[in-house]
C-alpha cells in the first residue's frame, strides 16, 4: 500500500511540476508561447489524444491494455464522415457507435473468452482497421460541410475550442466516476487484485467489461473529432495512437500493473507530450537550432525513458527500505 501511495504522490506531483516547469520555460523563452492562439490550437489538436488516453487510463487501472484505440478512432472517423451529411447528431452517433461496438467486442473477448487483453485488443485493432478501409473504400471520406458537422472539431464555444471542451467534460466525468462512485473504486480494486476483489464480492467481469466498452466509445469520439477537425474520415490514421496513449498514461504516473492511477495526471501526461512538440516548434522558430519534426518522437521517447527510470528508482528504493 505504501508503494502504491508513494508512486501515486510522485505521479501526481511529478508530472504536474514537470508540466508547470515546461510551461514556465516556454513562457519565459518564447514571446507568443502563452498567446491565446497558440494555447487554443494546442488544446484543439490534443483533445483527440486526451480522449483516447482517458479510456486507456481506465483500462490500464484494471490491469489491462487496449491496443485497438488507434484503429477504432480511424473507424470512428470514417463512420462519422459517412453519416455527416445527416447532421451533427447522426455523425456523433455513428462514430461513437462504431467505437462502442469495437469496445464491446474487446469486452467480450476479454471477459467471456478470457483472452489476454493484449491479444484480444490486438485482434480488434486489425479488424477495426480492416472495417475502416472497407467502409471507406480504401480512401479518405470527405465530410459534409453543409450539415454543420465540422463544428465539432473546428467550432468554438464562445472562444474555447469545442473538442477541448468535450475533452474537459469527459475528464471531469472520468474523475467523478473514478473517485466518487462504486464502479470507480471497483476499477482500482480489480487492478489491485482481481482474485481478492472477486472474493470480496465485486463483479470483476462487469467492471472490466465496462472499461473496454468505455475505451472503445471514447476512441470512437476521438475519431469523430478527427474527421470533423480535418474534414475527412481517415481509415489509415491512428497508427501508433495506442502507444502514445500508453506513454501519456505512464508519464502521468499510472502503473501499468493496475490498481492505482489518476485521471488528472493522465491529462497532464497528454499535455506534457503535446507541449514538448510545441516547444520544439518554437525553438526552431528562434533560429538557434533547426530540429526537424522527426525529433519529436526521439524527444518523446527520451522523455518517457526518464520518467520510467525515475519511477523505477523510486519504487525500488522504497521496496528496499521496507
Amino acid at each position: 500500500m505504501n508503494r502504491v501511495r508513494l508512486v501515486r504522490i510522485i505521479g501526481t506531483y511529478g508530472v504536474l511540476i514537470a508540466l508547470a516547469a515546461l510551461v514556465l520555460f516556454g513562457f519565459l523563452r518564447y514571446d507568443r508561447f502563452l498567446s491565446f492562439y497558440n494555447v487554443m490550437t494546442l488544446l484543439r489538436y490534443n483533445s483527440m489524444f486526451a480522449l483516447v488516453a482517458l479510456g486507456m487510463c481506465f483500462v490500464i487501472m484494471t490491469g489491462g491494455i487496449d491496443l485497438s484505440v488507434g484503429s477504432v478512432a480511424a473507424l470512428g472517423s470514417v463512420a462519422s464522415a459517412l453519416a455527416s451529411p445527416y447532421g451533427i447528431v447522426p455523425g456523433l452517433a455513428a462514430g461513437i457507435g462504431a467505437g462502442l461496438v469495437a469496445g464491446l467486442i474487446n469486452a467480450i473477448l476479454v471477459t467471456r473468452a478470457n483472452l489476454m487483453p493484449f491479444i484480444a485488443t490486438l485482434a480488434t485493432m486489425q479488424a477495426a482497421s480492416g472495417s475502416a478501409l472497407l467502409l471507406a473504400g480504401n480512401q479518405t471520406v470527405s465530410v459534409s460541410y453543409e450539415s454543420g458537422f465540422t463544428a465539432i472539431g473546428q467550432g468554438n464555444l464562445w472562444t474555447f475550442p469545442i473538442p477541448a471542451a468535450i475533452a474537459v467534460v469527459a475528464y471531469l466525468l472520468g474523475s467523478l466516476v473514478l473517485n466518487y462512485t462504486g464502479t470507480g473504486r471497483a476499477v482500482l480494486a480489480v487492478g489491485g487484485g482481481e482474485d481478492a476483489s472477486r472474493l470480496m464480492g465485486l463483479r470483476t467481469d462487469r467492471v472490466k467489461f465496462l472499461v473496454y466498452v468505455a475505451s472503445g466509445g471514447l476512441a470512437g469520439l476521438a475519431g469523430v473529432i478527427l474527421a470533423s477537425q480535418f474534414g475527412a474520415g481517415q481509415p489509415i490514421e491512428g497508427v501508433g495512437w495506442e502507444l502514445f496513449a500508453i506513454a501519456a498514461v505512464v508519464v502521468g504516473g499510472t502503473l501499468l500493473t493496475g490498481g492505482s492511477g489518476s485521471v488528472v495526471t493522465t491529462l497532464a501526461g497528454v499535455l506534457l507530450l503535446g507541449i514538448l512538440f510545441n516547444v520544439l516548434n518554437f525553438e526552431n522558430g528562434m533560429g538557434w537550432i533547426s530540429l526537424s519534426a522527426y525529433w519529436q518522437s526521439v524527444i518523446r521517447g527520451l522523455f518517457l525513458l526518464v520518467v520510467v527510470l525515475l519511477q523505477a528508482r523510486l519504487t525500488q528504493r522504497r521496496l528496499g527500505a521496507l
Binding site: 493484449f118 479488424a127 472497407l134 526521439v298 525513458l305 520510467v308
Partner: protein, 334 residues
Amino acid sequence: MTELPRSYADRDVVARSFDLLGFLSRYGTVIALVLLVAFNLAFTRNFATMQTLNVNLTQVCTIVIVAVGMTLVIATGGIDLSVGSLMAISGALAPMIFMGKILPIGNIYLGVAAAMLVSVLVAGLLGLFNGWLVARFRIQPIVATLVLFIAGRGIAQVMTNGNLQTFRVPEFQWIGLARPLDIPAQVIIMAVIVAAAAWALKKTLFGRCILAVGGNEKASELAGIAVSKIKIAVYGISGLCAGLAGLIVIAINSSSDANLVGLGMELDAIAAVAVGGTLLSGGKATIIGSLLGALTIQLVRYTLLANGVPDAAALIVKAGIIALAVWLQQQHRG
C-alpha cells in the same frame, strides 16, 4: 475458407467431446495450415507452383525472422515492441554506410560487409539496452520497449532526414534478391535462423534457462540461474533478428524509407508467436510453432487475396483467426 476454422468452435462439437478441443488446441495450427493448403490446391489456380511458394515464403520470411527473436523474449515472460523501429534503424543505417555517406569506403565489398555488420550490431545493442531496462530497473517489458518503439523510428528518420534512400547495389541486395538453387536467399537465411533457434531452445542450457525464467522467475533465481543475463541476452537477440530483417526489407525494395520499414512489424510478429502456440505469459515456447503461425497467417491472407477478397476484409479474417487460435490454446490449458 473462413468457415473451416470457425466450425471448430461449433457448440455441438465442443459439448460432445472435450478431447477434440484439446486436440485442436495442440495441433490446431498444423491442421489449419494443412486445410489451407488443401483448399488452395482445390480452388486457387496456379497454387502448386514454385512461384506461389516463393512469393509466400519471401513475404513471410522477415516476419518469421523477427518472430524468432520475439519468441525467445516472450518465452521469458517479456515482450518486445521495438522490433519495427529497430528494423527502421538498421534499414536506414546500412545504405548510409555502403553508399559512403558516413565514411567513404573505396571497396564496395568492404563497404557492404561493414554496412551489414554495423547495422545489425547496432540493432542488437539497442536490443541489449531494452534488456538492460527490463533486467536492471525491473521496468515492465511493454513500457521499456515502448521507449525505443517511439524514439527508434524517430532516430531512423532523423538520420535520413526522413528522405527515401534508393540504391542499386547487387553486392548488398543478394540478401533479398539472390536465388541460389532457385530458393530465395532470405528464405535460406530464415531457415538457418529458425533451425538454430529451435535447436538452441530445445537442446542448450541457454534455452532451458530461458524457459525456466519465463516459467518461474523467482525459482530460477533461487536455482542459481543468472536471470538478468538471460533477459538481457534475449532482448539482444531480438534486436539482432530485427536488424537483419530490416536489411532484407530494404534489399528487396532497393530503397529504404525510415517512415515505413518495419511499420507494424511488432504486432505481426507477436500474432505469429501467439498463433504458433507460445504462451504469452512465458515458460512455454516453440520456434517451429512461430514459423507455422506466421505461415498460417500469411497463407490465410494469400488465399483470400488470390480468391478476390479485398485486403481490408482479409485483415478482419486475420483478426478472427488470431483470436480463435489463442482461445483454442487456452481451452487446452484450462
